[in-house]
C-alpha cells in the first residue's frame, strides 16, 4: 500500500473541479454567510469589505482579520475562501494555518509586491488567481494556481470587463488549438506563458484547472451570460449584498438578498434554459447601482493589477 499524500496538485485542482457549475459568494459577516449557504452557494469568500466598499472607502486594503474568517468557518458547512494581497505570502501562510479551504490571491486588495506573485506550489491549500488574458492565466497556473478566474472590474456591478477577459482567454484557447506545433514556442514567448502549459492548451483545448468568471456579475442573466460564453462557474462579489438599496427595512433587504442569491444559483445551473432564466429573473427588486467604467480613472482600476 502506498502512503497517504496530502496537499498534492491532484487534491488541489480536484477540489477546484467540485465548484464547477456553482456560485461562490462574497460575504462580510456570519449573517450573510448563512444567507449564501441557504441560497445554494458552493462556497463563500469571507472578507471585511466587499469590492464596492473598497472602491468607495479607498485606502490600503489587506487580508481580513483571521478572527472574522474563523467566525464564518464555524457557522457554515460549505467551504470558506479568503483573499490575500498579490505577492503577500505571509498572509497566505496565516490563512493556511487557520485552515481556510481556498485562497484568492486578489487584485481587489492592494498589491504587496510589484514584481512577483506568491509561489503557490509551496502551499497545501489551493489558490485561485485572476487573469485578463491567456498569458497571465498560464503564468498563474505555472506558479501553482488550482483555479483561474477572470478579473472583471470588481465592485462596479458592470459585467463588461469580465466579458472582455473571458472572451480574450477563451478565444485564445481556440486559436491555440488549431495552431501548428511549430508556432507554439513563439506563442509562449509573445504571451509570456510557460511552454508546457501552452502545449497543454493546444492539445486539450482547456486549462488544466477550472476557469471561473468574476467581477461585475449582478443579475441571473449576467451569470448565465458568463456560463454560455464558456466559463466553469461564477464568483459574485458585491452583486448580492449591494442590491436591494431601496428596501425600507432590514428584513426586507435580507429577503431581497436571499432571493437574488437563489436566482443567481439557479441561473448558473440552468444557464442554457431561457424559460428557467426568465422565471428566476422575475421580481428580484433593485440590482446594485453599478459604475460605468468610462468614469473610472486608471488608478481606480483593479483589473490592471498583477504581473
Amino acid at each position: 500500500m502506498a502512503d497517504t499524500v496530502i496537499g498534492s496538485t491532484k487534491v488541489k485542482t480536484g477540489f477546484a473541479e467540485m465548484f464547477k457549475g456553482g456560485v461562490i459568494m462574497d460575504v462580510m459577516n456570519v449573517e450573510q454567510a448563512q444567507i449564501a449557504e441557504d441560497a445554494g452557494a458552493t462556497a463563500v469568500m469571507a472578507l471585511e469589505r466587499i469590492p464596492a466598499d473598497i472602491r468607495t472607502q479607498g485606502g490600503v486594503s489587506r487580508m481580513s482579520d483571521p478572527g472574522m474568517i474563523e467566525e464564518i468557518m464555524k457557522v457554515t458547512s460549505i467551504p470558506v475562501m479568503a483573499k490575500v494581497r498579490i505577492g503577500h505570502f505571509v498572509e497566505a501562510q496565516i490563512l493556511e494555518a487557520i485552515g481556510v479551504d481556498f485562497i484568492d490571491e486578489s487584485e481587489v486588495l492592494t498589491p504587496a509586491d510589484e514584481s512577483y506573485h506568491i509561489n503557490k506550489q509551496n502551499f497545501k491549500v489551493p489558490f485561485v488567481c485572476g487573469c485578463t488574458n491567456i498569458g497571465e492565466a498560464l503564468r498563474r497556473i505555472g506558479e501553482g494556481a488550482a483555479m483561474i478566474r477572470t478579473k472583471g472590474e470588481a465592485g462596479t456591478g458592470n459585467v463588461v470587463e469580465a466579458v472582455r477577459h473571458a472572451r480574450s482567454v477563451l478565444g485564445e484557447m481556440k486559436k491555440l488549438q488549431i495552431m501548428g506545433e511549430e508556432e507554439l514556442m513563439t506563442y509562449a514567448k509573445n504571451n509570456g506563458a510557460p511552454y508546457d502549459l501552452v502545449r497543454y492548451v493546444h492539445e486539450n483545448g482547456k486549462f488544466p484547472v477550472p476557469n471561473f468568471a468574476a467581477g461585475g456579475v449582478a443579475t441571473p442573466a449576467d451569470a448565465a451570460l458568463m456560463m454560455q460564453l464558456g466559463v466553469d462557474g461564477v464568483f459574485v462579489g458585491s452583486g448580492i449584498f449591494k442590491s436591494g438599496g431601496s428596501s425600507s427595512s432590514d428584513s426586507e433587504r435580507r429577503a431581497a438578498w436571499s432571493a437574488r442569491a437563489k436566482a443567481i444559483v439557479e441561473a448558473t445551473t440552468h444557464f442554457n434554459n431561457p424559460e428557467i432564466l426568465a422565471k428566476v429573473s422575475r421580481n428580484l427588486g433593485e440590482a446594485m447601482v453599478g459604475i460605468n467604467l468610462d468614469t473610472l480613472v486608471d488608478e481606480e482600476r483593479m483589473a490592471v493589477r498583477g504581473w
Binding site: 496537499g7 487534491v11 480536484g14 464547477k20 457549475g21 458552493t42 485552515g99 439557479e266
Partner: protein
C-alpha cells in the same frame, strides 16, 4: 445503453469523460424529463447543500427517488453519497434522497488542507485503486443489506446495496475507469 450524470453542479464532466472512455453514452441530467431512457444515474461530487437545493427546486429529488425505486441503478460519489444516504450525521434537516441504508458524516476527514490521495484495495479488483479524498464524507454506519467493497482506516469508502452504490472518494479523478466499469457491469446489470 445510456447513463445519466446529474449536472446541476460539481464534477459531472469528469464522470462523463470516464464513461465515454469505454464507450458508454452519457446524458447530462438537469430536469426530471432527462431521466427518460436511462439505465442508471450518477450523482457527482460537488457541494451537497447546493445540489440538494437545486434538486428540490427542479423536482429532481422525487424523480430520482422513483427512478431508483423502479430498480434503476444510482451511484453517488462524495456529495452524491451524502445525497443518497438515509442519514446525514449532525445535519438531520439537510434534504436527502433517503435511498441507501448508510449514515454519512460530512467533511469528517477534515477541511481542504487535509484532503489526500492513497491506494486502496477494492473487492474483486486485482490491483489497488488510487483514491482521491476531497473534504470527503465518512460512512459511519452501513445497514445490514449493504455490502462493503472497500475500506480505509476502518470505515467503508465504497459500498453497494442492490441497485445502489456509494463512494466517498472520487473515481472520476483517477486515470482508471474500473469503478465506472464496475457500476455499469455489476450494479446496473
Amino acid at each position: 445503453m445510456q447513463v445519466g450524470v446529474l449536472a446541476l453542479q460539481g464534477a459531472f464532466r469528469e464522470h462523463r469523460l470516464m464513461f465515454e472512455s469505454f464507450g458508454v453514452k452519457v446524458v447530462e441530467v438537469r430536469l426530471p424529463q432527462d431521466l427518460e431512457n436511462l439505465v442508471g444515474l450518477v450523482i457527482p461530487g460537488g457541494e451537497s447543500t447546493t445540489m440538494a437545493k437545486l434538486m428540490r427546486s427542479s423536482e429532481l429529488d422525487t424523480a430520482i427517488t422513483s427512478f431508483a425505486k423502479t430498480g434503476k441503478c444510482v451511484w453517488g460519489t462524495c456529495a452524491g453519497a451524502i445525497a443518497i444516504a438515509t442519514e446525514i450525521v449532525g445535519f438531520p434537516e439537510q434534504p436527502r434522497l433517503n435511498l441507501m441504508d448508510i449514515s454519512v458524516a460530512r467533511n469528517a476527514y477534515g477541511r481542504q488542507v487535509a484532503s489526500f490521495e492513497v491506494d486502496v484495495a477494492v473487492k474483486s479488483f486485482e490491483t489497488p485503486f488510487h483514491t482521491v479524498f476531497i473534504r470527503a464524507p465518512r460512512i459511519e454506519r452501513v445497514g445490514k443489506d449493504v455490502e462493503v467493497l472497500a475500506e480505509y482506516e476502518g470505515h467503508a469508502i465504497m459500498a453497494r446495496q442492490a441497485n445502489l452504490m456509494a463512494t466517498v472518494f472520487h473515481p472520476e479523478l483517477a486515470q482508471d475507469a474500473r469503478v465506472h466499469q464496475y457500476f455499469i457491469e455489476k450494479v446496473c446489470s
